[in-house]
Symmetry: none
DNA sequence: CTTTTTGAATAATGTAACAATATTCAAATG
DNA sequence: CATTTGAATATTGTTACATTATTCAAAAAG
């Protein structure tokens, strides 16, 4: 055990890049002190990510320690792509039952998506919000319900008729 | 408009303390770059809370500046009551179509809820996950599909049959 | 006298810089 | 050949600092 030098320059020595806790670079960001704890929890351990299981599972009960069969999911980022352009509307009635939209369901609406033929959209008509499927050709646009008991209506952007956005997800409570 | 000095020392001059955006001091914290956006949004204001609109709306388009008719909503806290006991399962097939569960839907499952008569539950049978409605009397338990094309099955907790939890929400993508 | 303009004073803020720590590898040692 | 050691380099929490934002009273204008 001599106190001597242990070699000079060596190629490939030192801690390799990308070996940090996150697998990506970090950067300092100013956080109000009262929120530091929560931010750190969110950042260090995937706080908002919950396990997503597939159809077949190993024996026994699921456990948070499992390596989830299909990974983890954060509802907010999964359902909301453009937070600044997203809002919620509660559905009423059963005119869109065929699209899986039931009375009382919560609709996730994205205003940044283009409303094209076949999309389910939110439209305000005379201050009332409605959910319908948009159908359009080069000549005309319709709003069609997904329920044979209701009629289609002609659609045209006017003073009292506005297209609010495209429905991306339907949340149904049991 | 002379170019002269404008007084010397003055008591009470300068920006007062506590006039920052948060009303409290801040401190730099290292954040992985991919999460900086999310953290900033969370920290600056009600990040995960997006507007929830009612059925009738004032004229014009909605704006984030609006005082939302029905307030704001955070999907995570709205859909997940008990984070440590919650997980997701993707539904397969149409045996529960009557309960609003379609093929490919994402199910929010809470293990901490008691599975009582009438609840929609997740059960593993021989390593396969199934969604069914639980019916039980003092004598017996059944798992019933919500589709007349499928049969009910007898239910009993066994080695290869386990009740995983109660389905609280169904997320349907369009 | 009242209103408007100005810049000194001070806090807040984003980011660079730094010291301390963690990690890896090959040379030195046994 | 296995183990120990320390040079080399990345990571990390925090400090430092230059820049920006904000406020107020003196000075200027009306």
């Amino acid at each position: 055990m001599e106190m001597e030098k242990h070699g000079g320059k060596r190629m490939g020595a030192g801690r390799p890049k990308g070996t940090n806790h996150y697998g990506e670079p970090t950067q300092p960001v100013r956080i109000p002190i009262s929120k530091i704890d929560r931010v750190l929890r969110f950042v260090r351990e995937r706080e908002d990510e919950l396990p997503l299981y597939g159809h077949s599972v190993p024996a026994g009960f699921p456990s948070p320690a499992d390596d989830y069969a299909e990974g983890a999911l954060d509802l907010n980022s999964h359902l909301v792509r453009e937070p600044t352009a997203t809002f919620f509307v509660r559905a009423r009635g059963d005119s869109m039952i065929g699209a899986g939209i039931h009375d009382g369901d919560l609709l996730v609406v994205d205003r940044s998506l283009e409303a094209s033929d076949g999309k389910v959209v939110i439209v305000s008509i005379n201050g009332e919000l409605t959910v319908k499927r948009l159908r359009q050709t080069k000549q005309k646009s319709w709003l069609t319900p997904e329920n044979p008991d209701y009629p289609s209506i002609n659609f045209q952007e006017q003073d009292d008729t506005h297209l609010w956005g495209v429905v991306t997800n339907v949340i149904h409570s049991l």
